[in-house]
């Protein structure tokens, strides 16, 4: 599959395994031979119980964590073959990550938080800030752009986190429990925004959730943990 520009942006996950060390010295397998493909612009909903390895999978897809075995590639780029700094650079440019707890940087304003991936990706400070400002305006957040996260409501923080995930026009957006902190109405609005931004940027979307309502919105699911 390819994007509108003809560039191959398919996410390919093949036989990914990951185990964490246990207190007794053994290892607990959290991901065991996970494989799937997600075409550019597609959406995948990852479901599973607590401790099933959903977040670990997102860390591996984003290059934050390396798998013990298997491969992850986005288009022609094989993340598992890259060095750590190569994965960092690739993540800044092509992968947007929306965390369950938003993980906004408290000392920075909303617009500065949004601009971070662009700054680390090498954009000029003024261009990064301008682009972040435009995006916040589109999300109806322009009047809150200079506020620190602590001064924002949960819904507003969620939109800042979304803006930060999509500001670099990523190929892949990873959303970890994007509605966990929101009431049902705000949750639906947030998902609609996420989907529209993914559509606008042409990004593939991987959503991790344990919420049945979210699960019900999407046709394609990956169940991990029990019965992956």
């Amino acid at each position: 599959m390819s994007s509108e520009t003809g560039e191959d942006r398919t996410l390919r996950v093949k036989d990914v395994r990951k185990a964490w060390p246990r207190a007794d010295g053994g290892r607990r397998v959290v991901l065991d031979a996970v494989s799937f493909e997600l075409e550019a612009g597609g959406t995948l909903c990852v479901v599973g119980g607590s401790g099933s390895g959903k977040t670990t999978l997102l860390h591996i897809l984003s290059g934050i964590t390396a798998p013990d075995a298997g491969s992850v590639s986005l288009g022609r780029e094989d993340l598992t073959a890259m060095s750590e700094s190569g994965r960092d650079r690739f993540r800044a440019r092509h992968i947007g990550y929306m965390f369950q707890t938003f993980n906004l940087v408290g000392m920075l304003s909303a617009v500065e938080n949004v601009a971070l991936p662009l700054v680390f990706g090498g954009a000029s400070p003024s261009a990064a800030k301008h682009r972040a400002g435009v995006l916040l305006e589109r999300l109806s957040m322009s009047d809150r752009a200079d506020q620190r996260p602590a001064a924002l409501s949960v819904g507003e923080q969620q939109r800042v986190a979304l803006a930060r995930a999509v500001v670099a026009d990523p190929w892949l957006i990873l959303a970890d429990e994007p509605t966990a902190s929101l009431d049902p109405r705000n949750a639906a609005d947030a998902l609609a925004l996420l989907e529209s931004e993914a559509t606008r940027t042409g990004a593939s979307l991987v959503i991790v959730t344990h919420d049945p309502a979210v699960r019900g919105r999407y046709a394609r699911h990956l169940v991990i943990g029990d019965g992956s």
């Binding site: 959903k54 977040t55 960092d88 993980n103 000392m107 971070l116 680390f120 990064a128 970890d176």
Partner: protein, 454 residues
């Protein structure tokens, strides 16, 4: 938002710690700046003043005391030398100019020097190639004939007192001239400024350099001129014509040298016609039992060699204080690092590379240290400015707090301004110290500190 802005935001988020650690660096750097600037000013000033006076004659004794007293007007006068030696110098062919100094009095805390109008000669240069200039007024009147008379009177008086009792002097009235004697004064710039003196003011010196009992004399000295500032001890002097100095009753008895029966003067500043003559004459003069000849620049070089070592120790201590302060900065950042691991992990998760995180933390250390350095450099100069008056009183020169100080980096490299060297040195030390917390940030396990795996 630039990388630098990110550093500044991070520091602003920890204002108290940032300000306290920067203050530590500021105090250390202020100390280094003050020691360096003052040390350099002492050296420059003492070398200049020393080289302004090629040779000083004085009584036998400590050369250092003679130089400190004659050039810097510190310490007590080492005593008196025979006036004949001054006359010899004045009349010698190898001497271009001889300036006698008679000291021991003061006027409201400022030392008084009795001398001739030779101090207004263009060859009298307290600083190299810089003769004294009058800012206002005129030179005091010096009457060589009158002076000769007074000296003659004093010699006769001395001869009379050394004769067996019953002998009388020649019946000459030694004091009848004194009413006509000019008694005039010229003061240094600081004296005029601090005492608010203007031309025509009346001056009444007291005996002793620290101020003491008043002389009982019939008239006062009239201020005829104020000297332009020189930045030397001269700014704090009151010059009076030497004949009026000798006319003071107390000086007449005390000015006689018991061994030679001659009138005594404190010192004579000698300007030889050529430097070679100084080299030839100095050892010859030093063989005499009644006087010593001193080269101030040599004496000062010896003094600076001693002081210079103390200076280096002080500088080393101050530099260590800066290093300790910078290490304190790094330790403060390090201690806060545990609280920042999540923040570092978030930055990494949104694309910051390990090197960028390392740079961020090193940048914080460098910026805090440089903030302290900027304040410290200014503080150091202000400190010198604040104590300039005290230095002038105790060390005999006025330090220029804002004089550029060039640090030599060896024979092959051009010298750099002290401020540039300080900034570069602090930046390097702070960067090295900053590596301690930076490596911790560098090693942050992103996944572990973002959120627990599910």
């Amino acid at each position: 938002m630039s990388f630098f802005a990110l550093v500044m935001r991070s520091l602003a988020a920890r204002k108290t710690s940032t300000l306290l650690t920067a203050l530590g660096a500021a105090l250390g750097v202020a100390l280094v700046a003050a020691v360096t600037v003052l040390g350099r000013e002492v050296e420059t000033s003492y070398r200049n003043s020393g080289s302004g006076f090629p040779m000083i004659l004085g009584p036998k004794g400590s050369p250092m005391q003679l130089v400190l007293n004659t050039v810097y007007h510190l310490d007590k006068s080492p005593g008196l030398m025979p006036f004949r030696a001054y006359e010899e110098m004045r009349d010698a062919r190898w001497v271009r100019l001889a300036v006698p100094y008679a000291v021991g009095d003061s006027f409201r805390g400022f030392r008084v020097v009795g001398t001739t109008d030779a101090i207004f000669n263009e060859r009298f240069t307290p600083l190299p190639k810089q003769p004294l200039k009058l800012a206002v007024g005129r030179a005091f009147k010096h009457d060589p004939n009158f002076f000769a008379h007074i000296v003659d009177d004093l010699r006769k008086k001395a001869a009379a007192t050394s004769r067996p009792s019953g002998a009388k002097d020649d019946g000459h009235d030694h004091h009848h001239h004194h009413d006509d004697m000019p008694a005039e004064a010229v003061v240094g710039a600081t004296v005029a400024k601090e005492l608010g003196l203007s031309i025509g003011a009346k001056i009444e010196p007291t005996h002793g350099v620290e101020g003491g009992k008043d002389h009982k004399h019939e008239h006062l000295w009239t201020l005829t001129g104020i000297l332009a500032p020189t930045g030397t001890a001269i700014d704090r002097l009151v010059f009076i014509n030497i004949e009026s100095f000798f006319a003071i009753d107390e000086h007449q008895g005390g000015a006689i040298l018991p061994e030679s029966g001659d009138v005594g003067v404190s010192a004579v500043i000698v300007y030889p016609v050529a430097a070679t003559q100084r080299a030839i004459m100095m050892p010859r003069l030093n063989k005499r039992s009644d006087i010593q000849a001193v080269s101030p620049s040599e004496t000062i070089r010896n003094l600076l060699d001693i002081v210079g070592n103390v200076d280096k120790v002080l500088l080393l201590e101050a530099a260590l204080a800066v290093v300790v302060a910078i290490l304190g900065t790094a330790v403060a950042i390090y201690n806060l690092m545990n609280e920042r691991l999540r923040e570092i992990a978030i930055l990494r998760a949104v694309g910051a590379r390990r090197g960028q995180v390392l740079g961020l933390v090193v940048g914080e250390s460098v910026v805090v240290a440089l903030m302290g350095t900027a304040v410290g450099l200014l503080l150091g100069r202000l400190l010198i400015f604040g104590i300039a008056d005290h230095v002038a009183k105790t060390a005999g020169f006025v330090p220029d707090a804002f004089a550029p100080v060039i640090i030599s980096l060896g024979d092959t490299l051009p010298g750099l301004p002290f401020e540039v060297v300080a900034v570069l040195a602090v930046a390097v030390v702070a960067a090295l110290a900053g590596l301690l917390p930076a490596v911790k940030a560098y090693r942050t396990q992103v996944a572990r500190h973002l959120s627990p795996p599910t």
